[in-house]
């Protein structure tokens, strides 16, 4: 079947198999930042925004989301440069292997849209479904808190 998606702002039409996941379709369409860590919704590496909500793309049938707007980390940086979630991650040392990073950043983007001023505990809870095996989460959590402050326009950020 044919579906229409907007991916990182660009409309796309693609032919899918009925059983294909959104993750498979996005990767096939070249959005390889959508990582396949487990293919069963356990790890969060494939998280993308579907109509603004972070979901594990491996758990969504592509057929379910005809007409949806998808955002991946590949569209996160704007014309002005990296998104605060991206440069705080670099500056805080939050990126090690970087495999989980795209999914984690999109999960964080969803969190900050809903809760612009999260506590550390709230960030950690939001990341509960985003596994990282490299960092122990110390620096990713700090980076997200720093990004939140910048996005709020806090002077001390």
């Amino acid at each position: 079947m044919k579906i229409t998606l907007t991916v990182d702002g660009a409309p796309r039409e693609t032919v899918i198999d009925p059983g294909e996941s959104l993750m498979d379709v996005l990767r096939r369409e070249g959005k390889t930042s959508v990582k396949n860590g487990c293919d069963r919704g356990d790890c969060g590496s494939c998280a993308v925004l579907v109509d603004g909500k972070a979901v594990n793309a491996c758990l969504v049938f592509a057929a379910q989301i005809d007409g949806a707007e998808i955002r991946t980390v590949e569209g996160l940086a704007g014309p002005g440069g990296l998104h605060p979630l991206q440069f705080t991650a670099l500056d805080a040392g939050a990126v090690q292997c970087g495999f989980c990073t795209p999914g984690m950043l999109m999960t964080a983007l969803d969190l900050l849209a809903v809760n612009p001023d999260p506590t550390e505990a709230e960030v950690r809870r939001a990341l509960a479904g985003s596994y990282c095996r490299c960092t122990g989460y110390v620096k990713p959590v700090a980076a997200i808190l720093a990004a939140a402050a910048i996005l709020r326009g806090d002077g001390d950020a």
Binding site: G30, K31, T32, S33, K35, N36, G37, C38, D39, R40, D42, C43, S45, T72, V73, E74, L76, A77, L82, Q86, F87, A89, L90, D91, A92, G93, V95, Q96, C97, G98, F99, C100, T101, P102, L105, A121, V123, R124, R125, L127, A128, G129, S130, Y131, C132, R133, C134, T135, G136, Y137, V138, K139, P140, V141
Partner: protein
């Protein structure tokens, strides 16, 4: 220019700075930089058929239905693949692991063992076809524990006659290692206090977020190109060449960005299959492990049973240390001998006061998943046993746990006989400790943690009891006289440099660390050093990323190559400035002399276009003569719910001596990640098996690794320390952190509720039972 000393460190401008990772921007913007992201048109997809039985002989295998399945191009089984024995362990040559493995064997030895591989136009077709392969198995009795493997009359797992270097195949013993100094029986007899502890560790898996993945193709000249998520590209090239009977130079291995390794990618698990598919079909091939295969068919941490006996004088000075270990290597002996060696060699030298030391290790085969290299590499298991025994000894003698370590630990200028007696699969090399800040780790760590106050606090008598525990650790920095790293530095006509290193950044940030070392020597910013790494066609040899080697071993090669290039740069500058090279300095991209300065760009241009053009470039190799240990003091606070058995770790501190932290944020990140992994190992992580040897929890839902909300605050302190043999004073930092949580948490639980936990993971059920047994 001579090497730097500790006095130079204050002048460093790039080393010691938390530079952004050189690959960070590509990663953070989601660029296609991992092996699995490669867009290779026309690639075949490979699916693996694995054994449903723990121990069986293949009587007959019928692939006709699979071969007839639409889209199937190639089916590999034991009937059409090379039969020589090898080891999947990616180690230096000759490998210390037994040759007990075939690409596809006529016998399967664990549930998840390779039976066949199918390459097809789509992954769905490959999987569907693999399921159509009919295998007639003669089921054999499985051996599913260390005790079963050693029982008289146990089924023989490796009964084939072509294995090499198996210690005693008839009795399922893969390897044996022993080392001794003095007379431990006499030492024990002379001791005022003797304690004995036995621990038993579980099957654990690395769980990198990126499962193993490889993409192969033939280049325009018909050479095979292997793009692989490997820690050891040069070992992959060598091992695949032998297996497929190709000259080494017909293979190119490239490691792009890697999604975490932790040791599991120090194995050649998938490259041989994909390469053979490409050779047979002439077509590109893609082979990715599923998460389930990553658990079951890749590698795990060796489960071990370790008995430690300590004898000490009344003041706590150790007099005798005895460690007796048995490990379970599963169906194949990958890293069997060397992990066992490190169980002793990465723990026993820590307490060098004892003149009487003995170590004995035996490695047995079972019909369970295969163990291999895993961050900590035996040191993790050994440290749990030793540090549990040390805690017992402190309690027995009424000496504070920190004080007991202070009285016994090795110091700068000292040695241990174990360094010489116990190497990696062979005798070691004598080694004098050239930097040890463990005393400061213990002192400052205890102070920051509030050890004395927290230790003195009453655990409470409600349902939740609180306690604190600690442990002390060492690891190594590379493998002495075995590892070799080489690096090439070349200069460009804009004054920037290319760094070519065979080393393998697993995501740790080692490419950045090496760029910083080169930049420091060359007097430029890190952005003027372009790193090309881990490509067997483009970069010089490096044994690979394992044994905490890259910063120290590869870093030393990079420093040496950069120093040679610096000399060339200064020689050109000297001729341009009519000065002596030794009177010149490189500052901020310029060479300053008494009578003026030239820029690096001036020199670079001149080196290309003259006068007297000539490429400024140098290659240097480094072979470590020692393996300087990093050290760590670990402190944990726990709450134990005596009603439910639930342990919560509420605080963790690691004070680490890694020498110079070339990039402090990355160094902290190594420790934080290792501690998190170690907490998972202590509390939740365990592969569970059915009574027939099938893994019950091969996924990240039922094999629980720590999430962000599961972890306590983790504080990392990097101590002031300078390793004179290291690049810019650096030692390793990648592994040591994982050794701390298990003993520190177990010792904290003992402090809280008085029970001695010896069988991780410390699940509520186990703790609850232990509490009931203790009458709590």
């Amino acid at each position: 220019m001579p090497r730097t000393t500790g006095k130079d460190r204050a002048k460093f401008t790039v080393v010691g700075v938390s530079e952004r990772k050189v690959d960070g921007r590509a990663l953070i913007t989601g660029k296609p930089v991992f092996a699995g992201d490669a867009d290779v048109p026309g690639a075949l997809h490979v699916a693996l058929l694995t054994s449903p039985l723990a121990h069986a002989r293949i009587r007959r295998i019928d692939t006709s239905a699979a071969e007839g399945y639409p889209g199937v191009v190639c089916v590999l089984t034991h009937e059409n693949t090379p039969t020589m024995r090898y080891t999947t362990a990616g180690q230096g040559h000759p490998e210390p692991s037994p040759y007990d493995t075939r690409m596809f064997d006529t016998k399967v030895r664990f549930v998840g063992d390779r039976v066949a591989a199918v390459a097809a136009e789509s992954l769905a077709a490959a999987r569907a076809a693999a399921a159509l392969i009919a295998v007639d198995y003669e089921e054999l009795d499985p051996v599913l524990s260390i005790d079963a493997a050693l029982a008289p009359g146990a089924p023989v797992i490796h009964d084939e006659d072509d294995c090499v270097d198996v210690w005693d195949a008839a009795h399922n013993v893969a390897s044996v290692v022993a080392a001794r100094a003095g007379d431990v029986a006499r030492g024990i007899a002379e001791s005022a206090a003797v304690v004995e502890t036995t621990i038993e560790t579980q099957y654990a898996q690395h769980a990198p977020l990126e499962p193993h993945v490889v993409v192969t193709h033939l280049d325009a000249d018909g050479r095979i190109v292997i793009l692989s998520s490997t820690q050891v590209p040069f070992h992959v090239r060598r091992i695949v060449a032998r297996l497929l009977d190709l000259p080494i130079h017909r293979i190119r291995v490239i490691k792009p960005r890697l999604g975490g390794g932790f040791g599991v990618k120090q194995e050649v698990l998938i490259e041989d299959v994909a390469a053979l598919v490409t050779l047979r079909t002439g077509r590109p091939a893609r082979f990715e492990y599923t998460r389930e295969q990553e658990f079951v068919s890749s590698r795990t941490r060796h489960p071990m049973r370790i008995r430690v006996r300590l004898g000490a004088r009344e003041d706590g000075t150790l007099h005798a240390v005895e460690m007796d270990a048995i490990s379970n290597t599963g169906a194949y002996g990958a890293h069997a001998l060397t992990v066992m060696s490190n169980t002793g060699s990465k723990t026993l030298p820590l307490y060098n006061r004892a003149p009487h030391v003995s170590f004995h290790g035996r490695v047995v085969y079972t019909n369970l998943p295969v163990a291999g290299a895993y961050r900590g590499y035996g040191g993790t298991q050994g440290a749990f046993a030793l540090e549990t025994a040390m805690d017992e000894l402190a309690n027995r003698l009424g000496i504070d746990a920190v004080v007991l370590r202070e009285r016994n630990h090795i110091r700068t200028g000292e040695t241990s006989p174990i360094f010489e007696e116990l190497g990696e699969g062979r005798k070691g090399t004598p080694q004098i400790i050239t930097s040890c800040a463990l005393g400061e780790c213990l002192r400052q760590g205890a102070e920051r943690f509030g050890w004395a106050e927290r230790r003195a606090r009453h655990p409470g008598d409600g349902s939740v009891r609180r306690g604190v525990g600690m442990s002390a650790h060492m690891q190594g920095s590379g493998i002495a006289l075995i590892d070799m790293a080489a690096a090439t530095v070349t200069m460009n006509d804009d004054g920037s440099f290319n760094l070519f290193t065979g080393s393998t950044d697993l995501g740790t940030g080692s490419d950045t660390v090496l760029a910083q070392i080169a930049a420091e020597v060359l007097g430029v910013g890190v952005d003027a050093v372009l790193v090309t790494a881990a490509d067997t066609d483009l970069t010089p040899f490096d044994t690979g990323a394992y044994a905490s080697s890259t910063t120290y071993v590869s870093g030393n090669a990079v420093e040496a190559a950069a120093l040679l290039v610096r000399d060339q740069v200064l020689a050109v500058a000297a001729s341009m400035l009519a000065a002596r090279p030794e009177d010149l300095t490189i500052v901020g991209g310029h060479i300053e002399g008494a009578r003026g300065s030239v820029s690096l760009a001036d020199i670079g241009r001149r080196s290309y276009y003259g006068p007297d053009p000539g490429q400024i470039a140098a290659t240097a190799s480094f072979v470590p003569e020692a393996s300087p240990p990093p050290f760590m003091a670990a402190f944990a606070e726990v709450e134990v719910d005596v009603e439910t058995g639930l342990i919560r770790v509420t605080d963790f501190l690691a004070a680490v001596d890694c020498g110079t932290a070339v990039n402090p944020l990355l160094a902290e990140g190594q420790v934080e990640g290792a501690v998190a992994n170690g907490i998972g190992y202590a509390l939740t992580e365990e592969m569970l098996f059915t009574s027939r040897g099938r893994t019950r929890n091969p996924d990240l839902a039922r094999y629980k690794i720590p999430g962000a909300a599961d972890l306590p605050p983790i504080t990392v302190m990097l101590m002031d320390s300078y390793e004179p043999t290291g690049p810019m004073g650096a030692k390793s930092v990648a592994e040591i952190g994982i050794n701390g949580p298990l003993p520190a948490i177990a010792n904290a639980v003992h402090h809280a509720v008085g029970i001695r936990l010896t069988r991780p993971p410390f699940t509520p059920e186990k703790v609850w039972r232990a509490l009931r047994t203790a009458g709590l």
